[in-house]
C-alpha cells in the first residue's frame, strides 16, 4: 500500500524524457532475440487505480515472448509491483483495480480471472519480500505451490525433486520452519514454491531485495537455468538494473506509472541515459554526483 502516497505526489511532468526512435517504436516481439516464438503475455495500455482515486499506472504496455526473460526496471514507486499484481490479479486485496486496457495470457483475456485460476493456467507471481509461510517447513512451503495441480502425487513428488536439484540448499533445510531460514533461502523457497505450480510464466518481483550481491548473482543464475532447461518464461521486476540487464533479453523502464523506454537488454545497457541514471556510469566513466546539475529532478534516484 505504500504505493498510494507516491502515486499521488508524482510530478505531473514525466521525469524521464522520451529518447528518439527506440521509444517511438511499439514494443514488439521482433526486437527480442527469440524470434518466431509465441507471445506468452501481452499487457496493453493498462491503467490501475487504487482506492478509486489514486492513478498508479497510466497506460502501461508490455509484451513477454514465450521462453524469454523480460525485465521491468524502475525506481521505488515507479509501478513495477503494481504492474505485476495487475497481471496476477492480486490487486483486489489491496483495493486496486485495472480500470482500462487489457491483459492477455497466451491470447486469452485474463484480467477478470481469480488469482488461483490464473495459477492453474500457468501464470504465477513470486511476491516482493519472499513472503514464505513462516510457520510451515520449507518442504510444506514448496508443496503449497502445488495446490492447484490435479496431476497426482507422483508428479508433484517429481517436481519437488526437480526444485531440490536447482536449490540443493532447500533440501538441506526441508524440515526447518521457513521463518527461521536466511533471506537467500527464503527467496529460493519462494521461487521453488512458484515452480511447484508448473508455471509457464513466473512473475518475479525484486528477487534481489535485501540479499548480498553474491546471492543475487546466484539467484539470477538459477533463474537463467530454469529458463533454459525448464522452459519457464520470466518477467522480472528489478531495481538492480545491472544484474537484471545482464540476464534478461529485453527490458522495460517504468517511471511514474509509464513505460519511458524499452528495448533489448544490450541496447538498454548501451543507452547513455540508462548508463547514467540506472547504472551509475557515463561516457567519461564514473561521474561525480556534483556535476550532474542538468538532471536535478533525478537526484532522488542517483
Amino acid at each position: 500500500m505504500n504505493l498510494l502516497g507516491r502515486g499521488a505526489l508524482a510530478p505531473a511532468v514525466p521525469v524521464f524524457r522520451v529518447f528518439g526512435a527506440m521509444n517511438a517504436r511499439a514494443p514488439s516481439a521482433s526486437l527480442a532475440p527469440d524470434v518466431a516464438s509465441r507471445t506468452a503475455l501481452a499487457v496493453h495500455n493498462i491503467e490501475v487505480v487504487y482506492d478509486h482515486v489514486v492513478l498508479v499506472l497510466k497506460g502501461v504496455s508490455l509484451e513477454v515472448p514465450e521462453g524469454s526473460i523480460v525485465t521491468l526496471l524502475g525506481a521505488n514507486g515507479a509501478g513495477k509491483t503494481t504492474t505485476l499484481k495487475a497481471i496476477s490479479n492480486l490487486l483486489h486485496a489491496e483495493r486496486g483495480e485495472v480500470t482500462k486496457g487489457s491483459i492477455t495470457f497466451y491470447g486469452e483475456e485474463v484480467h477478470r480471472l481469480s488469482p488461483n485460476e490464473l495459477v492453474r493456467r500457468g501464470c504465477i507471481q513470486v511476491m516482493e519480500g519472499r513472503r514464505c509461510f513462516a510457520h510451515l517447513t520449507v518442504e510444506e512451503n514448496l508443496l503449497t505451490g502445488a495446490f492447484t495441480r490435479k496431476d497426482g502425487r507422483a508428479a508433484i513428488q517429481a517436481d519437488l525433486e526437480m526444485v531440490y536439484s536447482y536449490f540443493p540448499r532447500l533440501k538441506e533445510r526441508r524440515r526447518s520452519l521457513a521463518g527461521y531460514t536466511s533471506g537467500g533461502e527464503q527467496q529460493m523457497c519462494a521461487i521453488g514454491r512458484a515452480l511447484m505450480a508448473r508455471p509457464r510464466l513466473v512473475l518475479l518481483d525484486e528477487p534481489s531485495m535485501g540479499l548480498a550481491p553474491q546471492l543475487v548473482e546466484e539467484i539470477f543464475e538459477i533463474v537463467d537455468q530454469l529458463n533454459r532447461n525448464e522452459k519457464v518464461t520470466f518477467l522480472v521486476a528489478e531495481q538492480n538494473t545491472n544484474v537484471a540487464l545482464r540476464y534478461a533479453r529485453y527490458g522495460y523502464i517504468l517511471e511514474n506509472g509509464r513505460v519511458v523506454l524499452d528495448g533489448p537488454a544490450e541496447a538498454l545497457r548501451d543507452n547513455e541515459d540508462v548508463k547514467e541514471f540506472y547504472l551509475g556510469l557515463s561516457a567519461t566513466g564514473r561521474k561525480s554526483f556534483r556535476d550532474i546539475k542538468s538532471y536535478k529532478r533525478r537526484k532522488r534516484w542517483l
Binding site: L90, R95, V119, M127, T144, F147
Partner: protein, 301 residues
Amino acid sequence: MAELGPVLEVFLGGLMSGVLYALVALGFVLIFKASGVFNFAQGAMVLFAALSLVRLSEWLPFGVAVLLTIAIMIALAWAVERLVLRPLVGQHGLILFMATIGVTFFLDGFGQTIWGSNVYQLDLGIPASPWFLFENLFPGGILVSPIDVFAAVIAGTLVVALSIFFHSTKIGRALRAVADDHQAAQSVGIPLNQIWLIVWSTAGIVALVAGMAWGTKLGVQFSLSLIALKALPVLILGGLTSIPGAIIGGLIIGAGEKLAEFYIGPLIGGGIEYWFAYVLALAVLLVRPQGLFGEKIIERV
C-alpha cells in the same frame, strides 16, 4: 488435608467442564488459525446451531435434524464468507473482528426470532443420572455426569481428527498457509474464498457439537451465547493457534477454577470460580503472550 475422594471428584468435574469450554474454544482456534480473524461470533454460532437442532428435532427424526443443522451451519458459513469476509478482504484484523461482533448480535437476534426464545430441552438420550465410580475405594464413590463423559469423548475425537486434518492433508496445509500470509497464499493459487468457506463450515459444525453438549447440560437458551466469554481465557492459556492447546487450556482452566473454588474459595468467601480463569489468563499473558502452545512469534534478527 481434605479427603481425597471429594478432591478427586472436584478435579474430575473440573476437567469435564474444561472439555466443554474447550469445545467452544476449538471453534475460535479453527477460524483464527486459518484466517487470522478472531471470530467473536463463535458463541452465537453455538447458540444458533443448538437452537436449530432442538427446534428441528421437534418435528423431524433426530438424525435428520442433525444433518439439516449441519447444512444450515454450512449455509451460514457461506453467507458470512460472501457478505462479510469477501468485501473486507485485505482489511486490518481489528476491522474483521468488529465485523464478527456484528455477526454475533445478528445471529443472537435472528436465531431467536426464527426459532423462538424459550428454554428448550435437548435430549440426546444420555442418562441424566450421574455415575458413581470407585465406590469401593472412596466412601460414596466419585460422582461423574455421563453428559460430561460424552462431551469429553466427542471433544477428544474432534481434536485428533482436526490435528490430522491440519497437519497431513493438502487442504490443511493450505489452511495454515492462509493463516500465515493471505496474500502469499493467494499468489500461489490457494483460493481464499473456498478456504474460508471450509473453515467457517468446520467451525459451524464444531459449534453444533458444543451446542449439543452445552444444550443438554443447561438447556438450549440465550445464555449459551455467553459461554464464548468462558472460552477466552482458555484461548489465551492454550494459544490462539493451537488445537491441542485449546483442549489442554480448557482442562487447565476447568480443573483450576474448580480446585481454586474448593481450596481458596472458603478462605475468601467463595465465588472465585467465576473470575479465577481470567486471572489465570492474565498471568499467562504476562509471561507467555502466545499461550502455552501457540505458534512462536517468529522474528528474524
